[in-house]
Amino acid sequence: MTATPLLVGRDLHRTFGATPALAGASIAVRPAEIVAVMGPSGSGKSTLLHCLAGILRPDAGQVRYGEVDLSAAADATRSALRRTEFGFVFQFGQLVPELTCVENVALPLRLAGTRRRPAERTAREWLERLEAAEVAGKRPGEVSGGQGQRVAVARALVTEPRVVFADEPTGALDSYHGEQVMRLLTEAARRTGASVVLVTHEPRVAAYADREVIVRDGRTRDVELVG
């Protein structure tokens, strides 16, 4: 447990309008580690995730991914990282409604430059791994929540990213389907050696992580790795 952290956020601050969402949050994620980010609603969990993923730029503080200072990097650099190194799962799947499931899964590969045919072949393999092969040709509007979320997990993992960011991935699912999605997500992440930053307010979901970080009022507690 002493490996160098892969992704470090240090003393992050971020304000929306007059509302402070982050007020000194720090977190470190080691390679192949699954970290649950917990906290009450409005505590800044999602903002922390967006900052770590280079989606948002923090007002103050630093996000470092390997050698890259994400908090200072240009939009193009951050976008490129998101295409190649990161994967995302959101609460409501957020699949692109007009594309079929397999096209949705193939999308990150295609955005990264893979041709259509090989991209969709890989996507199908991932759908099988996530026990969602049967929905490959359907549109997101025609599949159930659990299926959709498994498709979303497949989409997040299809590029075999180093870090997967999951924002309340089971938030819209019942316990059974939530557990199923979490099991598949963590299994797949462990197999590919991806780190997972898992934002959730559900303890049972957080229990799939290796450890948890609690965000309260935009601050994190119990950060062991940050010196």
Binding site: P203, A207, Y208, R221
Partner: protein, 180 residues
């Protein structure tokens, strides 16, 4: 049902004594007020516990006022008593169902004694989550029966954690009510 289990009545009394020496009668009243609800302590239980604490050197008699009867004795917590109390409060409970009663006691005592109550809750939460992780891992490895058993425990632990969360959110309100 009594909130405080028998095992921890002694430690609870220690906690009530920490802010300052009290008569046995005061102790009973304070206890009943905070934790007694439907089941107030018997005098006998109070004095039996106090004498056990006396014997173990966790409390001492501060003064005996003129007259006879147990009511004339004032008890004070000793350093050993404070150490014991610290240890107990800082130690997470074994995560198990219905432990909220003990936790509640701990939180109230922390508030009464000016200790950081949130840390007690966070420590507990960490312990809970650690157990949940263990169970989750066991579940992944086990058969269906194992899974069901683990899920049962997990749901209960989760309920506790929810309570912890809620209590954390209401600490300020609780402090006002307790210290009033």
């Amino acid at each position: 049902m009594c909130i405080v289990t028998v095992m921890s009545i002694g430690l609870t009394l220690l906690g009530l004594l920490e802010p300052g020496p009290r008569h046995g009668y005061d102790l009973k009243r304070a206890y009943d007020e905070h934790f007694g609800q439907d089941h107030p302590l018997h005098y006998g239980q109070v004095y039996a516990t106090l004498s056990r604490l006396l014997k173990n050197g966790l409390v001492e008699l501060e003064a005996v006022e003129p007259g006879a009867g147990p009511d004339r004795k004032r008890y004070a917590i000793t350093d050993a008593g404070v150490t014991d109390l610290d240890g107990w409060l800082g130690r997470p409970e074994q995560p198990e169902p219905y432990l909220s009663s003990t936790l509640y006691t701990k939180v109230v005592l922390a508030l009464l004694s000016g200790r950081p109550a949130a840390e007690i809750l966070d420590t507990q939460r960490t312990a809970h989550l650690a157990l949940m992780r263990t169970l989750t891992r066991r579940k992944a490895a086990g058969d269906l029966a194992d899974q069901l058993v683990c899920d049962h425990a997990l749901f209960h632990l989760e309920a506790d954690l929810r309570w912890l969360e809620l209590t954390t959110a209401r600490l300020d309100a609780l402090a006002q009510e307790v210290v009033r």
